[in-house]
Amino acid sequence: MTGNIQTDDDPISWLDQYGDALYRFARARVRDAFAAEDLVQETLLAAYRSRDGFFRQSSMKTWLTGIMKHKIVDYYRKLTPEQGEDNLDDFTYSLDNLFDTREKWKIKPGEWGGDPQNVFEGKELMATIHDCLAGMPEKMALAFTLREKEGASTGEISELLQTGKDNCWVILYRARMLLRRCLEINWFGRKK
């Protein structure tokens, strides 16, 4: 505790300064808003308890984010198995259905309209994407969102999901296939 400036060991000032950023970080990784708020709280409490471990070499924000990453890993570890792997396998069937026995397209990708800019009927399309994601197993949706939206590495994702990178690529593949198909049916199909 020696040499710490007052604001540096006052968790309430951390909340003021970094609370929103931490909350955004959590929301990008956890579907449930309340869970994200809890994660902010747990992170700040844990940070306060281990404040002696904070070294000035890293920024406060980086340090807090590092703690939050561990909290998020714990959060996913505690989710019941049904929300995890088991569920992911149910989707193999629907993907296999897209191809014939010679592995050629059976349900062919449709034309989504020539100019992508035109499709930017922004909010509605995003809402459809979110609906599609909501229909996926949470871990699959998480992996997909982290990768495609947040630009997270498969390294970070495999850590969060407690799985190997190989499996991560498989999960991302299934997620992309499902989302693509879901959009085709619920957005591009509807427009015709």
Binding site: D10, P11, I12, L15, G19, D20, Y23, R24, R27, E37, V40, Q41, L44, L45, Y48, L98, F99, R102, E103, K104, W105, K108, P109, E111, W112, P116, V119, F120, L125, M126, I129, T145, R147, E148, K149, E150, G151, T154, C168, W169, L172, Y173, R176, M177, L179, R180, L183
Partner: protein, 91 residues
């Protein structure tokens, strides 16, 4: 089918993987070769890239609008933290 020719199903997996890591040259060539001949897989690839672009721009918009903790949550967390501090400082 020769060993360097891949099925559509296989190619869709490889295209997806190529969006997450750099594939070995032989597989990149395999994708390229397949895409030259297969309009459906070309379309598939464009659609995946389109979805990514869409989500990345949504992320940018969100970052600008600045999602924040609700006042309720902030108050709750603050109380919790305040409960910790004095206990530790004056045991």
């Amino acid at each position: 089918m020769r060993h360097w020719m891949f099925s559509c199903k296989k190619i869709t997996g490889m295209i997806s993987e190529s969006m997450d890591r750099k594939l070995p040259l032989s597989r990149r060539m395999g994708i390229r070769f397949h895409l030259m001949m297969c309009a459906l897989c070309r379309r598939y690839r464009q659609q995946l890239l389109f979805i990514r672009t869409l989500l990345r721009s949504d992320k940018e918009a969100e970052d600008l609008s600045g999602q924040a903790l609700s006042d309720d949550a902030r108050k709750r967390i603050e109380e919790k933290l305040a409960g910790q501090v004095p206990k530790d400082r004056h045991p």
